[in-house]
Symmetry: C4
Subunit: 150 residues, 4 copies
């Protein structure tokens, strides 16, 4: 039962596998609309080919698997956002822990710091990005690291 | 002898291999309890399939191989902790060098900074996270970088 | 039609796939000049072999796919620049968001901070590296994190 | 000629390939001493199996390929150093650009900051870690980012 529901996505040469039902979780996106009639479907290998970054794609698929959009930290924000755009995904859905990596670069520069930084879906939210947390906590530990400097 | 003891774990399309004995090292977890009777076992390919993040899984398996839980730094803490939960692993076992990446996000916000930050198993320990070390050492080098600014 | 245009690049054991037309996008480089007469072409497997870092190569190919050169952040700048040199690519083409990772290490030390940091192609440009943005925005949020400290 | 000299290293399930001559570049290490008589050699698949981290191994092999030891930044220093030890490599050979990631954790804590930080081979050297460079250069740009704040 399991095997029939499986699907191979050859992304830049690296084979990713998931369930067909997983791809339906985020509707109206490139991956939710795959059909074997597409030009990039290979009936012999029974896979879809995409000429895209294979490593970043793991993070794209993870969004379908878990329902949460996290940014990878091994590539810069703009690169990931270009991939999100290709896959038809909404960068505004990024989780709070990844706000720091989120950047709006549509116009090539930052028009307004406050506005560009916070994604639409989370305006007014009181949660704070986890990514900042390590920086914030340093003062608390300072004394215990270098007591002789304190 | 070696080959019989081997096992293939297809995680999101990427084949990982390890020894069966390696998976027994951390008992009462999803991977230590694998049996061929499971629905995700494929007798033809002789492998287990999991619809999860293939890259992060390398770090999960490394915990079994080395007995030490290190966080990857190419994904954010909450993403990794969701994977830990899926695999039935205890985030509290994280090594001191990875404390900075460790975050407790169960309630969606930080109730108490001091309490949430330090994992249970290491409370009261005097060792200090390696991740902070680079930040701490900067002042020592400052003079040798920009002597003209000193 | 699709399959004929495809090409397999075995980089350090990991198979990457792309379109032949993709490799023509950046002319006069190692990848744009591939021919089956080369010693590293394998007619049986129909692939080219390169004894190079397989992970970093995803970022190299992404440059051909998107036309934008982004630095990976899972390896240090000098390592990536050595790969760029091998593939005959110009490190000066790096996107503004990755300037922070860009380093000129030809002489083994920094002769001039201002000059070595900014790539030739972007001198005088007013855009600012996204990578700095997170650091710059911290003060705005400081009060809302630790109101009791403010 | 090329194919005979090739070698497959199955590291945790991921096949890495390199030239036999590449592995001879760093003598007296686990990889330079491989022979088909070893228990982990598979004559059918013509490969060697190692139950280790597949991603980190790309960085290990890169040391053999380029002669330069760079630390990956997607895993913490201690994890990488445990891999270096397994492969019989000397962490002291790390390049200056990766000093920040280099940590001596043999005794479980830092006995002396100045001593533990700088690898033996580079004591007294005047070059400065590239990793610190981004932090150092921030003040120079500060004015051009937020002229209204200056």
């Amino acid at each position: 039962m399991d095997a029939e529901n499986r699907l191979i996505l050859n992304c830049g040469g690296v084979r990713h596998e998931t369930y067909k039902t997983t791809l339906k979780k985020i509707p109206a996106t490139r991956l939710s609309r795959l059909t074997e009639a597409l030009g990039n479907y290979d009936p012999v290998l029974n896979e879809y080919f995409f000429d895209r970054h294979p490593g970043v794609f793991a993070q794209i698929l993870n969004y379908y698997r878990t329902g949460k959009l996290h940014y990878p930290t091994d590539v810069c924000g703009p690169l990931f956002e270009e991939e999100l755009e290709y896959w038809g995904l909404d960068a505004n859905q990024v989780e709070p822990c990844c706000w720091m990596t989120y950047t709006q670069v549509r116009s090539g520069h930052y028009t307004s710091i406050q506005q560009s930084f916070v994604p639409n879906k989370i305006r007014g939210l009181r949660a704070f990005p986890n990514a900042l947390f390590p920086l914030a906590i340093i003062p608390f530990f300072k004394k215990s690291i270098f007591p002789e400097l304190g």
